[in-house]
């Protein structure tokens, strides 16, 4: 998140971001006109640039451009095999772009903690939030464990199909142990407390959130009726 005074960057409430994602989805699958599609993508890219995701926006813009080029420039004139195999994929990918753009914003600019608090404020039950946060927290640990196990396999000179077994089994066992230990550490710090959880992270809607959502709704409307 940008340091205040460093460079003015837009920051949205995570709930806005999630809602916006839904809207992006709606637009993506109801629009039919190419121009509506391109306008939406461009506007979204500008939005995330305003939030500070300049590099990612550049990469996404490039990817989108390539998709369009492939679909309108290459496939009609290229060999049929190329077209028939990939056109479905490329067309589908194009539709996913608005979602990908908003998704990138969320991944890059919102911490896991903020997302979890946002979900809690939306009255999503702890029964979902707890496993969800554990899942996300476990990804880097999983990567680490798999790395160590692969190292150990290199040292023991293990080949072929056995490699899969010898990777999967320790990973599973390590996961089970971690589940046991992490649960003990979480339960002895009251994770099962039915009281409403609080947080130091404050969630407040700002002007930019309302404007953004309004803009999204309007665009949805346009897309559904005119697109």
């Amino acid at each position: 998140m940008g340091a205040p005074g460093k460079k003015y960057m837009l920051k949205f409430d995570p709930r806005t971001e999630l809602l916006f994602l839904v809207l992006a989805n709606v637009v993506a699958f109801t629009q039919h006109s190419l121009w509506v599609e391109i306008t939406w993508v461009v506007l979204l890219l500008l939005l995330i640039i305003a939030c500070g995701c300049t590099k990612a926006a550049g990469r996404l813009a490039l990817a989108f451009g390539i998709c369009l080029f492939l679909q309108y420039g290459i496939f009609p004139i290229g060999p049929k095999i190329l077209a028939s195999s990939f056109t479905i994929l490329v067309s589908y990918a194009r539709r996913a772009f608005p979602c990908l753009i908003v998704g990138t914003l969320i991944i890059q600019k919102t911490s896991v903690k903020e997302l979890m608090v946002a979900l809690r404020e939306c009255h999503i039950p702890q029964g979902l939030i707890i496993p969800l946060s554990v899942t996300i927290r476990y990804f880097p640990a999983l990567k680490e464990e798999a790395g160590y196990i692969r190292d150990a396999m290199k040292l023991r000179d293990i080949h072929g199909i056995q490699k899969i077994e010898y990777l999967l089994v320790p990973v599973m066992i390590s996961a089970t142990t971690t589940a046991e230990e992490l649960s003990a550490a979480a339960v002895t710090r009251g994770v099962e407390n039915p009281a409403h959880k609080t947080s130091m992270v404050e969630m407040k809607f700002g002007v930019q959130d309302f404007l953004c959502l309004a803009f999204g709704v309007v665009f949805c409307f346009i897309s559904v009726t005119a697109g």
């Binding site: 040292l155 002895t188 994770v191 407390n193």
Partner: protein, 467 residues
Amino acid sequence: MVEIQDVSFAYEKEQGTLSHIDLKIGQGECVLLCGESGCGKTTVTKLVNGLIPHFVVGGALTGRASVNGMEVADTEMYRLAEQVGSVFQNPKSQFFNIDSDSEITFGLENAGVAPEKIKERLEATVSALEIGPLLGRNIFSMSGGEKQSLAFASVYAMNPSVFVLDEPTANLDAEAIDILRRQIMQIKKEGRTVIVAEHRLYFLMDLIDRAVFLQDGKIIRIFSGDEFRGIPEQQRIRMGLRSFTDPVMELPCARPPGTKDGLSVENLSCAFDRQTVFEGISFSANPGEVLGIVGYNGAGKTTLTRCLCGLLKEEGGTIRLDGKALNRKQRNRACSLVMQDVNHQLFSDSVWDECEMSMPEGRAEEIEKILKAFDLLEFKERHPMALSGGQKQRLAVAAAILSGKRLMVFDEPTSGLDYRHMLGVGRMIRELAGQKCIVLVVSHDREFMEKACDRIFEMDGRRDGNG
């Protein structure tokens, strides 16, 4: 006040039982639970923080335990959590969050404490435990010692009156143990009760008010602090306890590089994640000698072992075996490594198979001999993962020894081992050296190194900036 009245407990699936435990701990007391591996000290801690009976499934429990008037068996764990804070031995699996600030406030958030109060407690914790440098960081970027400090802080923030520490130093180096010691002193000063189950004793000796010595699940004797401190050396050894004093290591330095018989490391530099970990490392290790490698966390000991074993390519410098320079693949084949966490390197479905894997053309007698020496023969059909932590460690060492490689590297082979088994590993390592292997041991267990090593190589480079 913690009261345990005539408690007996037997696990459903795991090893270990408790028989007729009677213990009363007053508010503000610091009590040590000690004894050999499997004596039941960890199980006793679970009686206090409620893991028994709420968390452990099955098992037969008789007797009662209470904390500050609450019956443990009848109180919900989140209520117990308000009074009893627990720190466990594995720094890697205690944190729930990804960022450190959230981790410290985790317990307070669970309890529904008001945001202003959370902030207050956070600041109080940071100043009392002096953990400023830990704030605002990604936990995955922290060292083991920092993670353990964070776990302690996270528990402290909840302001419990009783602290339960279950082998908290098993994975820590001397510096981190020192930090833990100061944290314990702090909470003692604040009048909190401390119950510690531990193998490493030297840092606690002057802090404890009483020591409970357990064996086979029974309390053999409860010592007063002074009585415990006065136990003569011979008796301590008979009890199977680790050194009472901070072990001093007076060993000669490693040989200079260039040996024609053995391992020669010349001007080695390694990097990880595009950052230099160390450079200009040079030393020799001859067969028949055990070389210990020491250094604080971040100095690059583990990176060095990985490079020597061919898991990491060197950035600069040469590694020679018997005068011949070895590339990564060759080092891979010449080396055997016992890792810090042996759970990563046990693959078979039985102890016997695990050994056979290391030694495909091996004779059964050799495998039997080494399993016997390590107290593992009776478990030969057991699945490696069903063994206790110490047993797994010994199995990994046994498998490494059976592989018969020329260069044997051990990374923290004694973490969490009790006195007897620590000596056993030391003996085996000496025997290996006697068989003309080149043996390197990375460890922060100075008591062990004093007995097992002939020379020491000290890695003193700290990484620049944040580790």
